[in-house]
Symmetry: C2
Subunit: 275 residues, 2 copies
């Protein structure tokens, strides 16, 4: 019997469990969550199975907030030697750094970051198709067993994702630009808006602001963790962003800048398709 | 015969023409555009009627980039005295300031800003339902004739919009936060991303970044104009935003900040519905 041990039964972990079950990767899914309500929800939704029987996991998925990943990985490596352990966190270098500082990076640990999610929160928002056509970044380090990487990679592919390999530090620098700083900006824009004391404020909110600020509704526990763990890269980029919040006095120069940004954004939609 | 003179046959002007025709507000729509190709497109799409016959407009809609609105309003007021003239620009105070400095603000001029649009460009993206359930801000000044306001207000309502009255300076300060600074941020985030020299960059782009950066694909002519016309308010807010791009070291404080931003964003979706 193939058993997945899911540590953290929220949106991402719950979605992996649903997707893995639908793909026949595991016969049983055992859930653990520090929040008993979250675990109850995941059980009620059939995302994880009931407890009771003993088990020997085939894989361990760590889907906790990033500040808890290192300790969960170390714990799983002690309990289940030889079993592939992977996480789904948005920050990769600090986890490896903490493990290395505390003694060793388990060879069975495969750091993963699925580029998928939602501003909705918890297992009730989990979806079996969350990773379909999405990208997963895997950031193995020197200590990582290639056999474990191959297994974890194959699971992601079987739930519909495309896998890209990267080194953890490059990953963290890039996601600071594509995800972490954008979230911080969205939070800060909401704060600015809140300072306007105007009864008709909502009349000024259009689709552009709604789309841009959607990620401001993300999970506070998850996101305060991510920002702190990738603090240095995010703050360095924030300075670079602030320096670019200028409006050229020269019309042609400003129009050129906007046209260039437009070209890059249009190019995003013409990029590779992972589906 | 009721005739709408549409000056500027792009996305917003074209959409008003389509919506007004569908609502039976005008029998004929005459288009003017400094770009002959844009006018040809609008004609080919049936957004404006063929030229030739003389006409006496019932209304003039100025849907040019904001830097050209004041001169178009002054011109229309000279040619068609007693005819309501309204614009659809995103910046309101500078237009009135320019008109006042040049002699007078025509009493028939009703400054309008529909909070609707798209990152698509030109008449081919025009839609008859663009204003359905949307908000339009009207910013009359001392010189404005209340009778003209009443007519323009009624046209917006008949194409499905909800009208809110505001003073031009308040309008410009608020849209700096809800629209102009967000656009500048989206342009700047695209620029930052462009600096990453990584072949796998697209693997890191998720829905959050796509949603947030969608407005970076907006029309460069329109948006370089808007940013310059509302420069002072946007740059003041940009400084305030930059000052908020911090990451609290205290976990509880940061989590509280994110939770508060999340609460505000969730509140936006629970705001008044204009449809």
């Amino acid at each position: 019997m193939k058993v997945l041990l899911l540590v953290g039964t929220g949106l991402i972990g719950g979605s992996f469990a649903l997707a893995a079950r639908a793909s026949g990767l595991f016969d049983r899914i055992v859930g653990i969550d520090s929040n008993p309500d979250a675990l109850d929800t995941a059980r009620a939704l059939g995302i994880v199975d009931g407890g009771g029987q003993s088990f020997e996991p085939t894989a361990v998925c760590i889907a906790t907030p990033v500040s808890r990943i290192a300790e969960c990985v170390a714990d799983a490596a002690l309990r289940y030697p030889g079993t592939p352990i992977f996480d789904v966190g948005s920050v990769k270098a600090t986890v490896v750094d903490v493990l290395r500082a505390s003694g060793r990076v388990p060879s069975d640990f495969v750091p993963c970051h699925p580029i998928a999610g939602s501003e909705t929160v918890g297992a009730s928002a989990a979806r079996a198709d969350l990773f379909q056509g999405r990208s997963v970044i895997i950031t193995p380090v020197d200590e990582t067993d290639p056999g474990a990487v191959a297994k974890v990679e194959s699971w992601w592919r079987q739930v519909g994702a495309a896998v890209t390999l990267a080194d953890p530090h490059s990953h963290d620098r890039i996601v600071a630009a594509t995800s972490h700083l954008p979230h911080l900006v969205a939070f800060a824009l909401m704060e600015l808006l809140h300072e306007f004391d105007d009864a008709n404020l909502s009349a000024y909110i259009g689709d552009g602001f709604r789309d841009l600020s959607r990620i401001a509704a993300s999970d506070p526990t998850i996101w305060s963790d991510i920002l702190q763990e990738n603090r240095e890269a995010v703050l360095r980029l924030a300075d670079q962003l602030a320096a670019r919040l200028t409006i050229d006095e020269d019309k042609a120069a400003l129009k050129h800048r906007v046209a260039s940004a437009r070209g890059m954004r249009v190019g995003l939609d013409e990029g590779p398709d992972y589906s």
